[in-house]
């Protein structure tokens, strides 16, 4: 555990190449705007090596809510690397997001 905690940046850069992130929202609400802004900040700082963000508006594609098992909004889904991870909320708690994305282990 200690070695991992000492080298978070190294791990992040290794894994970050393949990050595919979907952000599910329902229309352009303040909450979804906050979530997207927070996500972009987090990615810029912690996933510098490369990532892809796709915003999915469920008001336009309601079917996807069922297909992808979405309940709460906004939901951030890490499609790649597997396994799939889900984070809900406006992503204002950076620490939780990093843990959720498995970029950083929980302390």
């Amino acid at each position: 555990m200690t070695t991992r905690a000492k080298t978070p940046s190294k791990k992040a850069s290794r894994a970050s190449q393949g990050y595919v992130l979907y952000l599910y929202v329902a229309g352009e609400t303040p909450k979804s705007a906050t979530a997207l802004a927070n996500l972009k900040d987090i990615c810029r700082l912690h996933l510098p090596a490369g990532h892809r963000i796709k915003v999915i508006d469920l008001l336009k594609n309601p079917r996807l809510a069922r297909d992808h098992q979405i309940l709460a909004l906004p939901t951030l889904v890490r499609e790649l690397p597997t396994p799939v991870r889900k984070i809900i909320g406006d992503l204002s708690n950076t620490e939780r997001v990093l843990v959720g994305l498995d970029i950083k282990t929980a302390r």
């Binding site: 329902a26 469920l58 979405i70 309940l71 909320g89």
Partner: protein, 434 residues
Amino acid sequence: MFAMEFLVRGIVDFGEPGVFMSFEESADELGQNVASIGFDLPALIRQRKLFIDHVRVARGEIEESGDFDLEGIFIRLGLAIDAVGAKRVVLDTLEALFGGFSNVGVLRAELRRLFDWLKERDVTAVITGERGEGTLTRHGFEEYVSDCVILLDHRVVDQLSARRLRIVKYRGTVHGTDEYPFLIRENGISVIPITSLTLNHTASTKAVSSGVASLDKILGAGGFYRSSTILLTGSAGTGKSSIAGHFIAEAGRRGERSLYVALEESQSEIVRNTRSIGIDIAPLIRNDMLRFHVARPTAYGLEMHLASIHQAAIAYKPSVMVVDSVTSLMSMGAGLEVTSMIVRLIDFLKMSGITLLMTALVESTHDANTTGVNVSSLVDVWLTLGNRDVDGARMRTLAVIKARGMDHSNLTHQFTMSKKGVEIMHHTAPEMRT
């Protein structure tokens, strides 16, 4: 189960499509579970009358960061409702949903918004939740969000299982507040009918003969009033079943049907025993003028008994009915439960115009005024039978403790039981009738 029946009945009986949103079981699992009570979910889904959305909620799988809402559920529900044109919605169960999130505050606010939204969409929603410690639901929001709260309960009393249903609240109605037993059988849920919440059945003034002419005379009215309830108490061997035998034989003579609920003896035993006092009920059985409903008290629980007696009475439509004996029902539950069950039966039979004769065993003749089932205040006629030793010979006695609306005898009468049946002896003392 209750919720699924609400949906399926809505579709089948009322033409109202429904949506089942499950937070626990998948559509396949749900289909399997309710197939046992005769519901074919896949068929309803194919007909586009039912929509099942399985919402997977798993704690630990979802990380929470900051503010969120449950708009995803709204979207999914909205889509499902539109897909089938649903009028009814079920959410099953809320605990599973709560289990997936740690921010309970958000959930409560969102559920409240969800209920309002469902109301706006003009759908009736059944939401299931588990009972909490000391509160109706674990998260205690039922008080302010729901228009109707129904509590289901499954308990085991004296090794017999009993399911209960209670309407805790129902805005805008005058609802029953009691706990009602219910059964889950092959054709779904049936709540034991509580037929008479108000005492508005009309009292009959027509009397039916008891089958013993001398008894009719003592009663004053020429027999029992039609659709009244008669209680016959006495210790073992005092002639309760014999008088019951006379009663059904007389009904047969009038061309009326009888239903004999036998909880102690079998049909053939009763046929044999009544024959010993000169009554042959076998022809009545052959002509379907008499039916037996034989059941061992311990065979099933109290509710099952009541339901089966009800069903037998509804199916056969007898004009008189004998329950022999109510005492054996005592072995099935606590006193209060048996009493309430008998009250329901009495009410139901009164409404149906069926004259009921019940027998009850009492420990001894000294104890004759207590029936043990506390139904004596509910019956219209109460007769006690006794045995008394006089100079080494047994003397049978019969007394009318009460007979509502009748100018009855107040004496203790002697009677004999022979091949000619029950015969009450002429009393020599002067009669003081009230």
